[in-house]
Symmetry: C2
Subunit: 589 residues, 2 copies
Amino acid sequence: MKEPEKVTPEETVGGPTPASAYRRPNGSAPQIAGDPLCLPPGVDSSTFKTFTLRLADIVGQENITIIDKADELRQDSYLNPSKVHDMFYILEKEYFVASCVVAPRNVPDVQAIMRLCNEFIIPAWPFSIGRNVGYGGSAPRVPGSIGIDMGRNMNKVLEVNVDGAYALVEPGVTFFDLHDYLVKNNLRDHLWCDVPDLGGGSVLGNTVERGVGYTPYGDHWMMHCGMEIVLPDGSLIRTGMGALPDPDADPSLPPHEQSWNKCAHLFNYGFGPYNDGIFSQGSLGIVTKLGIWLMTNPGGYQSYLITIPRDEDLHQAVEIIRPLRVGMILQNVPTLRHVLLDAAVMGDRKTYTSSTKPLTDPEIDAIAEKLNLGRWNFYGALYGPPPVRDVMWQVVKASFGKIKGAKFYFPEEMPDNLVLQTRHDTLQGIPSVTELRWVDWLPNGAHLFFSPIAKVSGDDAVAQYELTRRRSEEFGFDFIGTFVVGMREMHHIVCIVFDRKDPDSRRRAHKLISILVDDAAKQGWGEYRTHLALMDQIASTYSFNDNAMSKLNQKIKDALDPKGILAPGKNGVWPSSYDKEAWKVPFRG
Amino acid sequence: MKEPEKVTPEETVGGPTPASAYRRPNGSAPQIAGDPLCLPPGVDSSTFKTFTLRLADIVGQENITIIDKADELRQDSYLNPSKVHDMFYILEKEYFVASCVVAPRNVPDVQAIMRLCNEFIIPAWPFSIGRNVGYGGSAPRVPGSIGIDMGRNMNKVLEVNVDGAYALVEPGVTFFDLHDYLVKNNLRDHLWCDVPDLGGGSVLGNTVERGVGYTPYGDHWMMHCGMEIVLPDGSLIRTGMGALPDPDADPSLPPHEQSWNKCAHLFNYGFGPYNDGIFSQGSLGIVTKLGIWLMTNPGGYQSYLITIPRDEDLHQAVEIIRPLRVGMILQNVPTLRHVLLDAAVMGDRKTYTSSTKPLTDPEIDAIAEKLNLGRWNFYGALYGPPPVRDVMWQVVKASFGKIKGAKFYFPEEMPDNLVLQTRHDTLQGIPSVTELRWVDWLPNGAHLFFSPIAKVSGDDAVAQYELTRRRSEEFGFDFIGTFVVGMREMHHIVCIVFDRKDPDSRRRAHKLISILVDDAAKQGWGEYRTHLALMDQIASTYSFNDNAMSKLNQKIKDALDPKGILAPGKNGVWPSSYDKEAWKVPFRG
């Protein structure tokens, strides 16, 4: 195969096209203003100008924003806290930045943008809402990419089907939106929408990034069903049964407006290769519509908190959790949270200490005592009518009761426990943003997630906790974390809270996560998702048999996106047309 | 892109290489005997001979069998009832036939076979056990392909992990094997393996083909976790967390023998694009190892039968089923079976009638009465300790009790009902082959499955039943079918039983299924899986937006398998190097 030309930060692809050479069909004068903070790679400002004018012809001028250099220097506008960057930047805030942001109004706009990006060989980075906090927000991996704001205009709940218990949503629909839709349409008594900790994100975006929630439907990717996707060449597919036309579809309508096959959101796999997964955490297409299964009201609900007193009880607690979870006595995705996560929701660091050093065990014990919490706190729920809940609760109580000093609480017994009150909502699919508060643990608080997968075993939990706490403290941070218990594994979410206005704090956070990735890989632990700055590093740990999986990913990438215009570098997958080394993230560690 | 040369049945690719030109490294004389019934496309017998000698160098002579023409004509040996063809052929039995069958001993053999097939441009068709009955058995789509018998030598249960509740299996492990392993190791009290109707098939093969079973773990694809796959270029990947090396792996071992990452069978998705799905019902790789989740003993079990008296009760029954299933009151994959399916398990057609015409309603009523069954019969089960089962059963009884004349039975109340006794096993993961008996409904009984997906709605169920019964009778067949109830849809499995020794019966069966595919597509119904002869037709019904999904499939196929050597035509996906039209299945309708 012929080696394609590489795109590097320095190189110019194609000669400059003066903006003056471009006239709109109607002869009107080009009017996209602004000098971008960062140009797309290898594109001069004149070509960029032409490109944005062409974009304006697609979506209308009101749907393009240049990330204006002067503006940014002046007022921090777009960079904080809006949609087109990483609001929790760990590099300089200008590093992961788009050249402009375009908000398509509909599917044909997305298709036209893909075709235009191919024509100009300009990379594009789609985002739904931009709330991918802790993982890079809406910022692109390749500086100067155009941001495609999928959610601004495409934000409708297209359908909630009660019989089939599913919703069909556009990228801009947040968990709040979907929940509100259920409430407003008096459907909440029938249907619950699983929600993650924060309700402000996109249902579609979270699902495609394989985010999780906490009801029995917590594995969002498992619960998706039927997608509509624009491929990098601008063509449009519907997956699964959606690939089978609906006989009632109006042939005079464009494909994206045609009614869906009646089973498109009822059966995932369709016929032949099941392609959905390659579009998750991927760069092979832009998802424009997503079917997501809703949980039916289980006929009863009871949330609870179990406080687990000692730090060293972690081992026993996880050993108790494993058989209960795999046996579905624990019916949902419960969490085992370190006390400082709860403490951080209920107050900032200064509320608890004047020390600038990482909190010591005695200090953490004192906080736990003050908050009437354990060193670890298990938030779960029971689903079903009373006799079912009673059976489950008896087993749960008897099992956790083996931990000396463990205490059991229902929310009504702890009206002032903000976390329990919030989890009571979250675990029944009621969204909130309360838990964002822990980011304020430090002044100018921002965070990075370090998210390794762990076996549900006491040994693994303790080893991950020991490692991540030790390293956190080594870099001057408190350990704040939670084990999110899936069917047979835990997403161990370590929240690295740093001061985004303090370059040293950012540097330490960056260094910490980078070291943790390597530490973890040495133990055989891999992350399920990550921040832009860590994508290459983490992808490189999934290196079995001489990086066979990375090679496969690149082969498929090249086949579907030969010019490498869609999200190059996302999750460590680079098209051949990019020199991965040249795009290495600067590291100030 | 340059249009590649097409492989057609007539064309010769590459010049002939005389077998005499080939000498083994050790100088021994070539010894693969036999004149194949069918050569690979475009390959002359001399080249084929050389190819088989090279194959013998890979796997040993004892692991190659030429599908010998003389032998076949003489004794019907390999074609009936063995592994390398469709034992339930609907075309002439010599149509879907391999040129030879090779049984790799291990993963490097599979890799070497892939490389050799690329060198000779000879298509290969892998199968696990060859029990894909009703869908083509072990036969290849392209006549003359080499069959790769993955199961003959690679048939070990590599691991059963009790804590993680999963198994790791090779292609040759049957459901019987896995169940026996659990029994022999005293693990059956802890772990159940979901099984389909027939236990003789491959766990891996069934899962990759997206077959279903009947416990709460009935969606085998959903319950798989972590695969090892040889790609068409011979490279080896492990998916999900399996792509992350195990730190304890012995680097002196070849990759396929290295220990797996400890989370490989606990967490499906890994990091980055989730590729597993493209290898299901696909032709992009050969799965050599599969992780599959096992169900933990639910702490109690009760199977049941609900007889539903009248044919027209189907509508009401399905309306009752929908909310119960989506609400998980029906905890598993239950089935709503037409009485003739049960009747066929308990006796052949002659037991019930001397008529040669399709059975009339009064005749079917008489059979139902004789067997003490309803016209429809619902087989379900309750899982969990008594209080949980009691709650579920109360709801189930109250709901189905609304059907006038519905009766409820536990297996102990119907000791002579072979179907209920068998379902009692199947629904708790105990394999059997009892249900194969319905194939003997006709003399020389064989069958084809017509398997459309249906909404769980009375209207859809009745419409599919009405259509498939009417068409079946039009072609002289009795309607024999079952609705297999998934989370939000039903796999409607219509069993077309025909006499394989009667060319007219075969012709009518072929015509019937072909017409049903078109009839169904007009209603928006699509099949989830099919026989070799129908793959192109069904793939062509998944045609949304000018066959966008087919085009995507072909693009990925071409990228990973540029010479089109792996299972060309499988599920309607043809590499560009094949002229699809030239490979059209002859239709004698």
